[in-house]
Amino acid sequence: MSSLMEKKMHKEENNIVNDKKEMVVSLKDLNVYYGDFHAVDNVNLNLEKNKVTALIGPSGCGKSTVLRSINRMNELLPETRVTGEIVFDGVNINNPKIDAVSVRRRIGMVFQKPNPFPKSIYENISWGAKINGYNGDMDELVENSLRKAALWEEVKDKLKQSAMRLSGGQQQRLCIARTIAVEPEVILMDEPASALDPIATGRIEELIFELKKNYTIAIVTHNMHQAGRISDYTSFFLVNEDRKGHMVEYGVTDDLFLNPKDIRTEEYISGKFG
C-alpha cells in the first residue's frame, strides 16, 4: 500500500514538471484513410523527448498505422490519405511540401520482422550513412553504431560477413544500429521483438532502455508486459463498431496500467479481450 502511495506521489511530481516537458512529435487530429476506409480516427498524441511512448491495443486498431504516419511511410501505400498535423521540430511535416526522404532520416524506423539488407554487416550500417551524404570516418561510425546497438562485441570480427547469417535477435539489433547510424532524433519501432524469442526480446528491451538517453522512441507492441517494462507513456488504441481505430486512453505508463480511467482499458489490460 505504501509503495502505491509512493508511486502516486511520484506521479504528482511528474504532473508538476509537465509544463517543462519537451515534445518532439505532436500528432493533432490525425486521421488516416485507406481509400474509402477510415482507418484511424482523430488521434492526438505527443512523444516526449528522451522518453519511450508505447502504443498498445488489439490487432487492427490502427496503432501501426499511426506509427507509420509519423515518418510518412504510409504514403508509400497506394491510395492512403493522412490528414491532421504532425508537428516535428516545430514544423508540420504532414505536408506535401516537406520532403519525406529528409523526414525519414531524422525519424528512423525499425520494423516488425528483422529486415537487414542482404549485404555485409558493415555495408548494412554504412549504406544509409553514405546515401545521406555522411563524410566522416565510416569505420568509426560503423563501430559506434554497433556499440550503441549492443552488437559490436558479437560481430566485430566478422563485419564482412553477410548480415543474413546473424540470428534473428542480432539481425534486429543490426537494424537498430543501421537506424541510429544516420543520427535520427526519433526512432519508431513497430513490434520490434514480436518475431524474436524471449532472450532476444529481453536484449532488445534493455537496448531500448539504453537508447532513450539519446533518442525519443515510440514503440508499437502487442505485449502489454513489454509496454509496462520499457515505456514511460502508454496510449491504448481500440477499434469501434465501424472499424475505425481510435485512441482510448493516454497517460504515464504506471498510471495507465494501475489505474486505468476507461473501463475498456482495464478490461484489455486485465486480459478480458484482445
Binding site: M73, V101, M109, V110, F111, N115, F117, G128, M164
Partner: protein
C-alpha cells in the same frame, strides 16, 4: 460410432493414380524431345556415295595426277574450264605464279569435281549397310562410299554454296550472333526500364492497368505481325537510319533498310513484352520489407531500387531475358518478312549489312529439291541447338553466380 470414415486405401489409390499420370506425362515429354533430337542426328550423319565428274584416268592414263608437272596442270585447267573463269583466276593471282598444290586443288575442285550422288541417313547407314554397298555397286559403279558427318569444321567456316557438300553456315552464324547482340542491346535496357517504371514508380490506376493488359496481349501476338511492323517502321519508315545511309555506310545497291540493324530492332520489339513481364515478376518477388528498410533510413526511391531491389531481382530478370532471347534466336517469320537474304555468301561486315540467320538457312535448305540439303539442314539445326545451349548455359552460369554472391557476401 464415428463420423469419420477414413477410407485410407481409396485415398492412397487416388493419390497413386495421379502420381502415375504425372510420371507418364513427364515420360511422354522426354520421349518427344528424344525423338526430335534423334531425328536431327539421323539426318546429320550417314553414308554418302561420292562420284567424280571427270575421272582422273580421263586426264592421264595412270590416273595419278601427281605425275604431272605444273605447266601440264595449268594446260589441263585452260582446256577444261571456260575462258572467263581462267581470266578471273589470272586476275586474282596469275596461275603461273601459284604453287603446284594450289593448282592441284583447283584441278581437283573444278575438273575432277567429286560430288555426292546419293546420301543415306544414320539409321539406314547402321541397319542397312550391306544394302547400301550393294546398291552403290549396282547404280554408281564409279562411286565410292564414305561415312560423312555433315556437321564438320568445313561446314562451320564455309559460306553458302549451291552444292550441298560445300555449303557452310559461317554467314548465318555471324548474322544470327550480330542480330542477337543488337536485340539484347535494345530490348534489355528498355524492357527492364519499363518494368521498373510500371512496378516501382507508376501508381496503380486505370491507365497503368490498361497498359499492363496490353503488354500481356502483345506477348501473345504472332511473330509475323512484328515482322510486318518491322518492315513498315524500321525497313521502310526509318530506311535512312537502318540502311546506314544517314551515317554514310552501306553501298547504294543494298541500302534498302533490310539490314542487321532492322532485324535486331524487330526482334527486340518482339521480345520486349516478354522481358517487361518477366522483369516485373522479378521485381514483385522482392520482399516489400526490403524497400521499407531503405526508405526507413532516408533513401530515395532510386537509391533503394539501385542498391537493393535490382541486385536482389537481377537473377530472376536475367532468367526471363534468357528465355526471351532464346525465343528470338529461333524466330524465322519476322526475319523473312523484313527481308533476310536467303542466298548470301558475303559475311555481314557491320550492322548495316545484308544478312541471313541460322533459322532462315535451315528453312531455305529444307525447301531445296536436292535431298542432300536435308542433311545440311540437319547439321545446321545441330549448330543452332548447340548455340542456344551455350548461350543459355553461359547465362545460367552468370545468373547463379549473381544469386550466390547475393546470398553469401
Amino acid at each position: 460410432m464415428s463420423n469419420f470414415n477414413d477410407n485410407i486405401k481409396k485415398r492412397y489409390t487416388v493419390s497413386n493414380l495421379w502420381n502415375i499420370i504425372f510420371t507418364f506425362a513427364t515420360i511422354v515429354a522426354v520421349f518427344m524431345l528424344f525423338l526430335l533430337l534423334m531425328n536431327i542426328i539421323n539426318g546429320a550423319f550417314g553414308y554418302v556415295a561420292i562420284q567424280n565428274t571427270i575421272e582422273p584416268t580421263e586426264i592421264i592414263s595412270s590416273g595419278n595426277l601427281d605425275e604431272l608437272d605444273e605447266s601440264q596442270l595449268i594446260e589441263i585447267l585452260e582446256s577444261n574450264l571456260s575462258k572467263g573463269l581462267i581470266r578471273r583466276y589470272n586476275f586474282e593471282n596469275p596461275l603461273i605464279d601459284r604453287s603446284k598444290t594450289e593448282i592441284m586443288s583447283l584441278v581437283f575442285e573444278r575438273i575432277i569435281e567429286p560430288r555426292v550422288v546419293k546420301s543415306w541417313n544414320l539409321k539406314e547407314s547402321i541397319l542397312g549397310r550391306n544394302a547400301i554397298i550393294e546398291y552403290t555397286g549396282r547404280e554408281y559403279p564409279n562411286a565410292h562410299l564414305q561415312f560423312r558427318s555433315w556437321l564438320n569444321p568445313q561446314f562451320l567456316i564455309g559460306s553458302q554454296a549451291s552444292v550441298p557438300e560445300l555449303a557452310g553456315i559461317r554467314t548465318a552464324i555471324l548474322g544470327s550472333m550480330m542480330i542477337i547482340l543488337l536485340t539484347i542491346a535494345f530490348a534489355f535496357p528498355i524492357g527492364v526500364g519499363a518494368a521498373i517504371y510500371l512496378k516501382e514508380y507508376a501508381t496503380d490506376n486505370k491507365f497503368t492497368r490498361f497498359i499492363q493488359v496490353n503488354i500481356y496481349n502483345l506477348s501473345g501476338v504472332p511473330s509475323i505481325i512484328y515482322g510486318l511492323l518491322g518492315l513498315a517502321v524500321f525497313v521502310r519508315g526509318m530506311e535512312p537510319f537502318t540502311s546506314g545511309a544517314m551515317f554514310g555506310y552501306g553501298d547504294p545497291s543494298t541500302a534498302n533498310g533490310r539490314t542487321i540493324l532492322a532485324a535486331g530492332m524487330t526482334l527486340a520489339l518482339l521480345i520486349l513484352p516478354i522481358i517487361i513481364i518477366n522483369a516485373q515478376e522479378a521485381l514483385r518477388a522482392v520482399p516489400q520489407t526490403m524497400r521499407h528498410a531503405g526508405y526507413g533510413i532516408g533513401a530515395t526511391k532510386w537509391q533503394t531500387i539501385w542498391s537493393h531491389v535490382l541486385p536482389h531481382s537481377m537473377d530472376r530478370i536475367m532468367t526471363g531475358t534468357i528465355l526471351a532471347v532464346s525465343r528470338a534466336i529461333g524466330e524465322t517469320a519476322p526475319i523473312v518478312v523484313i527481308g533476310a537474304s536467303t542466298f548470301i555468301s558475303v559475311d555481314p561486315s557491320n550492322i548495316f549489312s545484308k544478312f541471313t540467320t541460322l533459322p532462315i538457312q535451315i528453312y531455305q535448305w529444307t525447301s531445296r529439291p536436292q535431298p542432300e540439303f536435308r542433311n545440311v539442314a540437319a547439321a545446321a539445326i545441330l549448330v543452332l541447338l548447340v548455340m542456344l545451349l551455350t548461350m543459355n548455359g553461359f547465362a545460367i552460369f552468370t545468373r547463379n553466380k549473381i544469386s550466390k554472391n547475393r546470398r553469401s557476401n
